[in-house]
């Protein structure tokens, strides 16, 4: 996407201050783009109002794909392509197929889930990650607010809300992509 994006960043020192700030900022009507922290903050995803991940749905669908691929493959091979008598069983003996079908289900569910997660989280190998502030890997929590999303609000007003919510610094950050 060829467009410039402008963010306002609130830098927080403490996770309790951050948690309160998230609630305060959201209740004042500002939409938060994302919060970055050096370690997982318990309950932050609830405070940000994140909906539950839909990743399990992807896992289920890929799992079903694995089951049907495995069954089709085995049935085709054993019944039509190269029928063999093994242990006096039928050519297409269903119990024999279950271990392979199980393994293919697990394999495709796992691969599919990892793949979908990487794509949806922008973890492609060629992706350029946006670094909002280097200190988020050290000791600071950073709340990023996208100005384009909050176009109904004045930039100065947003900055004021951030500093009154306990931010130790309020900065601007732009990316040109």
């Amino acid at each position: 996407m060829e467009r410039d994006t402008h963010f306002v960043l609130g830098v927080y020192e403490d996770e309790d201050v951050l948690m309160n700030a998230v609630k305060q900022v959201r209740s004042s009507g500002v939409k938060i783009h994302e919060v970055y922290s050096p370690y997982p903050v318990h309950g932050l995803e609830h405070a940000l109002g994140y909906k539950r991940s839909r990743l399990p749905i992807a896992a289920f669908l890929f799992g079903m794909l694995g089951t049907s691929l495995a069954l089709t493959m085995q049935f085709y091979m054993m019944k039509f392509d190269w029928p063999m008598i093994i242990g006096g069983k039928d050519f297409a003996a269903f119990p024999d197929f279950i271990p392979v079908s199980f393994e293919m289900t697990v394999l495709l569910a796992a691969f599919g889930m990892v793949g979908v997660f990487m794509v949806s989280s922008n973890l492609k190998p060629w992706a350029q990650p946006r670094i909002f502030d280097l200190r988020i890997t050290d000791d600071k929590h950073v709340m990023a607010i996208d100005l384009a999303v909050n176009s109904g609000m004045d930039e100065e007003k947003i900055k004021e809300i951030l500093s009154s919510s306990g931010a130790s610094e309020v900065n601007n950050k732009s990316f040109d992509e």
Binding site: R52, P56, G87, G88, K89, D96, I98
Partner: protein
């Protein structure tokens, strides 16, 4: 630090009201009535004269079916009772925090153990000869035409140190020792729990952890051997190396379902306020996970026997799958204990909401009874078995008797271990 659990009533006791007693008694009476109808029908109907593989050439009597039923329920409900104690011990040995407020619910199931012990030993003496093919002296007599060299080779496992075919002293000793130790550990846990309620402090928790570890070691051995003794030895010629685990898994799922049902029941009555959907979710995960574990064992046993197709092994499944009586129940077993729980409990919401869990847990309690029915009846009754009034009646009588004993035991002590050091941690459990 302020403890938020102090906001709850930690001294609550389960009130076993006359209303609950009455409804359980109603089920018990319905069960007894069905049992009587079943017995009368069986007496009038008589049995087919056909001989099952292990029937030993005796003519079939109606009371054999009653014996088989009593044995199924003895084994099944002993399992649910001991799994309550086992799951309790797991919580302490694993130093689990989340389960602190429901540990007493698990322990309450152990109250059935002393009664189960009496029933099991008494019914073994009364019915053992009809249930167990190996309790026939002529099998061990080389001069007899009935001599069976395979069973003779296994004889010492039942009769040592006495002469084979006389009195199964080794078998009975194992039964008595297992029940003795199980009851001993159960009363030990109960005693420590009562002391903890009175005195507080962390020393009781550490004591409980040590005793739990000892119990788990003993249970690991005793659960496997009791499965061989009480269930696998019915099909005397046959053996399966994972049978101990298979029976344990069946017991465990049934026990977990009973614990979950009881927790949801107590919550519905207004007890256990600090237990929320996060704790129920964890119980649901256990039920879901161990249903799959049971399926894994069932299928592992089936696939190897089916694939190798060695006659002395596959006879177990041929007796069941190709039988008019039991063939259908194999599939009922798989659908009730794997397919339905797997599909219904797959989503997160289903594990957090009582209604789905109630449904699945009830299904599993009946389903694992069917599993034990399939383990016991083909070897004892052959073509004369099946599910009729007698089976349903015996199951209801036993089930409601267990419910009376367990709830009665639960009402005696504190419902919540109020001095458990991890109660606060459990309150903040979030998943």
């Amino acid at each position: 630090m302020a403890h938020e659990v102090q906001n709850f009533n930690l001294d609550q006791k389960f009130d076993f009201t006359a209303g609950i007693k009455k409804s359980i008694m109603t089920v018990l009476l319905i069960g007894a009535a069905l049992l009587v109808v079943g017995i009368v029908l069986a007496m009038m109907g008589g049995g087919h004269a056909e001989e099952g593989a292990e029937a030993g050439g005796h003519a079939f009597h109606w009371y054999q079916r009653l014996f088989a039923n009593i044995w199924i329920n003895n084994v099944y409900f002993t399992g649910i009772a001991i799994v309550g104690v086992f799951f309790f011990a797991i919580q302490y040995a694993a130093q689990a925090g989340w389960s602190a407020p429901i540990t007493r619910v698990m322990l309450a199931f152990g109250n059935w153990l002393p009664i189960a012990a009496i029933l099991m030993v008494a019914s073994f003496f009364l019915m053992g000869h009809d249930l167990f093919h190996w309790w026939h002296a002529e099998l061990f007599d080389k001069a007899s035409p009935e001599y069976d060299s395979i069973i003779d080779g296994k004889g010492a496992f039942f009769y040592w140190p006495m002469e084979k075919g006389t009195f199964p002293i080794f078998y009975i000793a194992r039964m008595v020792i297992f029940f003795g130790f199980w009851v001993f550990f159960f009363s030990k846990f109960k005693k420590i729990a009562a002391a903890e309620d009175q005195l507080g402090g962390t020393s009781h928790w550490f004591k409980m952890r040590s005793w739990s570890a000892y119990f788990l070691v003993f249970f690991a051995v005793s659960s496997s051997i009791s499965a061989w003794d009480w269930v696998m030895s019915i099909d005397t010629h046959w053996f399966s190396t994972l049978f101990g685990w298979y029976v344990f898994a069946s017991w465990f799922v049934a026990g977990l379902s009973s614990i979950t049902l009881l927790v949801i029941f107590l919550k519905g009555k207004g007890y256990l306020e600090m237990v929320n959907e996060n704790h129920v979710h964890d119980l649901g995960k256990f039920v879901f996970g161990f249903s799959i574990f049971w399926t894994y064992l069932w299928f592992s046993q089936f696939l190897l026997i089916y694939y190798a197709n060695i006659p002395e092994e596959s006879v177990y499944f041929i007796e069941r799958l190709e039988s008019d009586v039991y063939g259908g129940f194999i599939f009922v077993n798989i659908v009730m204990n794997f397919v339905l729980p797997f599909l219904v409990l797959m989503t997160r919401d289903a594990k957090r909401h009582g209604i789905f869990l109630k449904l699945v847990c009830t299904l599993l309690i009946v389903g694992h009874w069917v599993d034990f029915f399939l383990m016991v009846q083909p070897g004892t009754l052959g073509h004369n078995g099946g599910i009729g009034f007698m089976e349903i009646g015996t199951f209801l009588v036993y089930g409601s008797a267990v419910a009376l004993v367990v709830l009665g035991g639960l009402a005696k002590g504190n419902l919540i271990p109020k001095n458990h050091p991890m109660l606060e941690e459990s309150y903040h459990h979030h998943i």
